[in-house]
């Protein structure tokens, strides 16, 4: 039955995974489903098993163990009943005692109540009587007659005796009751003693009874078990014998078959042996033949072995020799190695020494270098100092010389003036030269700062606004703009920049600038923008403008190239731009128009960025030289010019005039001196004349008179006139 059940279970457990989704499936849902099914199947199996077992047990208990189990149950029930009855029997006494006690208490209570009542009644009656008696005592006082009094007293005595008697009677009653109670108590004691003995008897009886019945039941149970065991034994024995019979018969069968098989095997063995012996013989012969052949081969091998041995010995000798040689060479090499090691060590020592020396040299040289650098610095310092002093001296010398020259010049001019006015009688104007006002050494006039330039530009634009037709020449005279840049373009570009680069200006400043005029605010804005961009000079401004123009040009070309890529292009636009780029200088108006058009405000920032980067690159390179060379770069060429110009304050024609004048004056002087001489001569001559007149008269017609420039006749005539 069990095996069947197990089979069923196995079948149950085996069946589901075949039909249902498998646990090893790829789909997780399917796997979950499979596991659930498996759990359910297991639970089902367990439940069935339990059910089956319980059924089994029930059947077993009913069939197999029925006898003993029944016996046990029966005896247990009877015993418990007996126990219950016995305890009841024993406790009955206690209960009866309790009952009696309660009854007694009730009776006692009742009796007590009656007694109390009785006593109270008695008290009442006796009290009444007592009152009567006491009342009569009052009466007795009223009695005067002794007989009456005696009678009354007798009566009183009688009454009192009665009262006392009653009391005594009561007391005796109570005492009798007490005695009765005592008797009752003794009886009760006896009764209780009896009860206790009864109780003890019953208990003993109960115990004996119980022991007996327990023993009996035990015997019964044992018998039942024994019987069951006997039955079981008999049945098992029968079973055993049956099984044994079956087993024996089977054993016999096995034995017979075994015997048969043994005989078969023996036959086979014999056959096998015969065959084996034949085979053995043939193999033996073959193997002997083989042995002979192998022995021959062995002999041959031995011979070759001998030969080889000799050869090897020879080789061994040779190798030994070689080995010796090798050892010699080795020793030589070792020695060489030692020597070389020594050399190497020496070289290393030398190297170390050298390094040390060089190191020391290096230290001394660095010290020297430092010293020299210091000296150089001192020298530079002194040089700078001397340069300054030189400058000063130069300036002083210059000024002295200049003053001297100026004095000379003034002198010359005065002379010229005097000459002009007095000698020549010409009007004289003081010549005005640029060097006239110059004081000190000539230096390049400073570049205008960027703001000044802008200021000027803006002023110019204002003027332009005022008088639109103002001449360009005037402006140009004031502003030294580069040729290729017009003021307008510059202004426009600056204005655009001013508008676009507001971010470079501080916010506070912007709020301050708000109320100002457009130009002023623009100026201040540009000032801060230039400060931010690092633009200082006029030149920087121009380079900026130029950069903008270039940038625009580059953009234009890039645009152009982009447009060129497209087949359908605006020919006119390209043409105009090309023309524009080809001739930048000619059409300035066009250009500035283009400026405003082509430099889009959005591009300004990019351009600015590019400009700042390029500026930085430019500035980084030449900065360090500037400081030293500034003074030396002073232009000497103009000095000589200046001085030369000083020399030629009096122009050459005038000098020539002066030369001529000198000549003339010389001549005049000569003439004058001649005249003076002549005058003296004249006087002398007059004297002579007078003398001569006398002589004239003698010599009136002398030839000397004719050879003179002024004919003596004229002189004669002039003074005469």
């Amino acid at each position: 039955m069990n095996s069947l059940l197990v089979d069923e279970e196995e079948e149950e457990t085996l069946v589901p995974p075949v039909k249902e989704p498998s646990v090893n499936s790829d789909d997780p849902q399917e796997r979950i489903q499979a596991r659930r099914l498996r759990i359910a199947a297991r639970l089902e199996a367990r439940r069935r098993e339990a059910l089956g077992e319980s059924l089994d047990r029930k059947k077993e208990s009913e069939e197999d163990q029925s006898k003993s189990f029944k016996q046990k149950e029966e005896s247990r029930l009877s015993l418990s009943k007996l126990l219950l009855c016995g305890t009841e029997l024993v406790t009955n006494i206690q209960i009866a005692g309790d009952m009696r006690e309660t009854h007694r208490r009730l009776d006692e209570d009742e009796a007590k109540r009656q007694r109390v009542e009785k006593l109270e009644n008695e008290i009442k009656t006796s009290q009444e009587k007592f009152y009567d008696i006491t009342a009569k005592w009052e009466d007795s006082k009223m009695k005067r007659i002794p007989q009456d009094l005696w009678g009354l007293l007798n009566e009183q005595q009688h009454q009192c005796a009665m009262l006392i008697e009653e009391k005594n009677k009561l007391i005796s009653d109570l005492q009798q009751e007490l005695k009765g109670k005592d008797d009752q108590y003794v009886k009760d004691l006896k009764k209780q003693g009896d009860d206790i003995t009864l109780l003890l008897e019953r208990m003993e009886e109960q115990v004996k009874n119980l022991i007996n019945t327990f023993r009996q039941e035990l015997n019964h149970i044992e018998k039942a078990f024994e019987q069951e065991r006997q039955e079981l034994l008999i049945s098992n024995k029968k079973k055993w014998e049956r099984e044994m019979n079956v087993h024996n018969s089977k054993e016999l069968e096995y034995l017979m078959s075994h015997m048969k098989r043994v005989e078969d095997y023996e036959k086979q063995l014999n056959q096998q042996r015969v065959r084996d012996s034949e085979e053995y013989n043939s193999i033996k012969i073959k193997l002997e033949l083989d042995v002979q052949i192998l022995e021959q081969q062995l002999q041959q091998m031995k011979a070759t072995y001998q030969l080889n041995q000799e050869k090897l010995e020879y080789n061994f000798q040779v190798l030994k020799k070689r080995d010796e040689e090798n050892t010699i060479i080795k020793s030589q090499q070792k020695r060489k190695i030692n020597r070389l090691h020594d050399v190497l060590n020496n070289l290393r020592m030398k190297l170390a020494k050298q390094i040390k020396q060089y190191h020391e040299d290096n230290i001394t040289l660095t010290a020297d270098y430092k010293r020299i650098i210091m000296q150089f610095r001192d020298l530079q310092k002194t040089m700078r100092h001397f340069a300054i002093i030189n400058d000063k001296q130069f300036q002083e010398v210059w000024i002295i010389n200049e003053e001297e020259a100026k004095a000379l010049m003034d002198k010359a001019l005065d002379v010229d003036k005097i000459i002009q006015l007095q000698q020549l009688g010409l009007p004289w104007t003081r010549p005005d030269y640029w060097f006239m006002k110059n004081v000190g050494p000539i230096s390049h006039f400073k570049k205008k700062s960027a703001t000044e330039l802008v200021h000027e530009l803006l002023l110019m634009s204002e003027e332009e606004d005022e008088s639109q037709k103002s001449s360009l020449k005037d402006q140009k005279s004031r502003l030294f703009l580069p040729k290729h840049l017009s003021a307008k373009t510059v202004r426009l570009i600056l204005e655009i920049m001013c508008d676009e680069s507001g971010f470079l200006i501080e916010s506070k400043l912007l709020s301050l600038l708000y109320p100002l005029e457009r130009n002023e605010s623009c100026l201040l804005k540009l000032d801060s923008v230039f400060a931010a961009l690092g633009i200082e000079n006029e030149d920087d401004v121009y380079t900026l403008v130029q950069f903008f123009l270039d940038f625009r040009a580059r953009r234009a070309t890039s645009l152009q190239s982009q447009e060129a890529l497209t087949p359908v292009s605006d020919a006119e636009g390209i043409g105009s731009i090309r023309r524009e780029s080809c001739v930048p200088g000619d059409c300035q108006d066009q250009r500035h128009l283009l400026c405003s058009e082509l430099i889009h405000p959005n591009d300004v920032l990019k351009a600015l960025k590019a400009f700042v980067i390029s500026q930085q690159k430019l500035r980084e390179a030449p900065m360090p030289l500037k400081v030293v060379t500034q003074r030396e770069l002073r232009d000497v060429s103009q000095d000589s010019e200046y001085w030369d110009a000083l020399c030629f304050i009096i122009p050459l024609p005038r000098q020539k005039l002066w030369d001529a004048l000198i000549d003339a004056l010389q001549k005049y002087h000569n003439i004058l001196t001649q005249r003076a001489k002549l005058l003296s001569d004249n006087e002398f001559l007059e004297q002579q004349n007078t003398e001569l007149q006398m002589l004239l008269q003698q010599y009136i017609d002398s030839r000397i008179n004719i050879e003179l420039q002024v004919p003596p006749t004229q002189v004669f005539q002039g003074p005469m006139k």
């Binding site: 418990s80 209960i95 309790d98 309660t102």
Partner: protein, 459 residues
């Protein structure tokens, strides 16, 4: 250890006696053929003989200890033996020698405990205040403090002076009670003794005299106020006490209140037995207060003077109590009022298992309430309503209540006039309940099988 002189050896040597040489004495377990006893044997003998002066035990090995203990005298003073010897067989010998009957099972299977408890009990039993030296008992305290668990004394003797007083009283008939009061009738004060006993768990006292015979006097059974006060302080100080019994001692309301007040919030007390006293309603009210102020599990107030009021107080306390398991009010007079109150309390109580209301003048109204209790309550297993006047109708109502109850196992209704029929039916129902309970305890799993058997058997 001095070697005994050879002459002694010859004396103790069994071989020296020619008569003994000849035969083997079967009773002597130490008999041996060796003519000269071993030195170790001799030493052990010496130890045994001089144990009182020089107790050597712990230094010996177990086999030697065994030998010494087997031969130790039972008359050795307790001072020597009490804390040294723990061997049960020695104490068993001592007990058996002293008392003919003794159930060691009642003493936790410890002969030593039995010896000391009974020894102390005897001393207390025959202690006469004023004449007996109290040191006799106090000296014993350090010896027995570890072994005495229960102290049950069923008699306390009054002072000796009393006898003279009694004689005087006999001479002069009209001896006033005030005179009696003047002489201290106080019994032995347990205070010091109990304070010394560390393991004490149970106190069972009866203030009375046994075997007084014809010398009976009420004064012999006087539980005085001082006794009461000292006992109260004693039990209050004893924190290990679990069971306190004071029976047959004429404890009245006042004394009961004093005692119970001292037991309030006691940390260990589990059982209180004040049976066979004179306690009335006031004392019971105190007890009712106690059950909710301690861990009390068993309360016995049998054979007192409890009336309906006291029962009502108890019922009120019981209605919200969760510790009390057993209540015994046998032989009181709580009547229907008290019975009804208790029954109502049991409807809400779910811890009480044992209730004894025998001999309480209960009648039908109580039975009706109890029938309701039976159908509601599942904690009760044992009720005793014997010796009451429940009557036939009350019996029928109780039977109805029983039909719904599956937990009650004992229901004593003897002598309560309920009629044989209902008594039999109730007993059948109780039987079924008992069987069910037995099966529950035996095999909780397969009870349904055997129930059939029982039914079959019952049929």
């Amino acid at each position: 250890m001095a070697i005994p002189p050879p002459s002694k050896i010859s004396v103790s040597n069994p071989a020296s006696n020619t008569r003994r040489m000849r035969r083997i004495i079967a009773e002597d377990p130490e008999w041996s053929l060796t003519i000269v006893p071993r030195l170790s044997e001799l030493c052990l003998q010496h130890i045994v003989s001089n144990f009182e002066k020089n107790p050597v035990l712990t230094q010996l090995n177990p086999i030697q200890q065994r030998r010494v203990l087997d031969r130790l005298s039972t008359d050795l003073p307790l001072k020597v033996v009490a804390n040294l010897v723990t061997d049960e067989s020695y104490w068993r010998r001592r007990c058996n020698q002293r008392w003919a009957v003794g159930h060691v099972e009642k003493y936790g299977n410890s002969w030593k405990r039995m010896f000391f408890e009974r020894h102390l009990q005897d001393l207390l039993k025959y202690f006469i205040p004023g004449t007996t030296d109290p040191r006799v008992i106090l000296e014993l305290v350090p010896l027995c403090q570890d072994y005495v668990v229960r102290l049950s004394v069923d008699q306390f003797l009054p002072p000796v002076k009393l006898e003279q007083q009694i004689q005087e009283m006999e001479q002069s008939d009209s001896a006033s009670e005030t005179e009696v009061e003047e002489f201290s009738m106080d019994h032995y004060q347990l205070g010091q003794l109990v304070a010394g006993l560390r393991r004490l768990e149970e106190l069972d006292l009866v203030f009375g005299v046994k075997d007084c015979g014809m010398n009976f006097e009420w004064n012999l059974f006087l539980f005085t106020t001082r006794d009461c006060l000292s006992l109260a302080s004693t039990i209050k100080a004893c924190h290990t006490l679990k069971v306190f019994k004071l029976t047959r001692s004429k404890v009245d309301d006042e004394k009961a209140r004093v005692l119970i007040r001292s037991l309030m919030d006691h940390p260990a007390l589990l059982e209180l037995d004040l049976s066979h006293n004179n306690i009335g309603d006031r004392g019971v009210r105190a007890a009712a207060k106690l059950i909710n102020h301690s861990h009390l599990q068993i309360l016995k107030l049998a054979n007192n003077k409890i009336r309906a009021l006291g029962a009502q107080a108890l019922a009120h306390a019981l209605s919200y109590n969760t510790t009390l398991l057993s209540l015994n009010l046998r032989l009181n007079c709580i009547e229907d009022e008290g019975g009804q109150a208790l029954a109502h309390a049991l409807q809400s109580n779910s811890t009480l298992t044992n209730l004894h209301l025998g001999g309480n003048e209960l009648s039908e109204p109580t039975a009706t309430v109890f029938s309701q209790v039976l159908s509601v309550n599942t904690a009760l297993t044992c009720i005793n309503l014997s010796c009451n006047h429940i009557g036939l109708d009350g019996g029928k109502q109780l039977l109805e209540g029983m039909s719904d109850n599956k937990t009650l196992m004992e229901f004593d209704l003897r002598m309560s006039e309920i009629g044989q029929e209902s008594e039999y039916l109730i007993s059948v129902a109780l039987n079924a309940n008992r069987e069910a309970a037995r099966l529950r305890t035996l095999q909780p799993t397969c009870c349904h099988i055997t129930v059939n058997h029982i039914n079959n058997a019952a049929d």
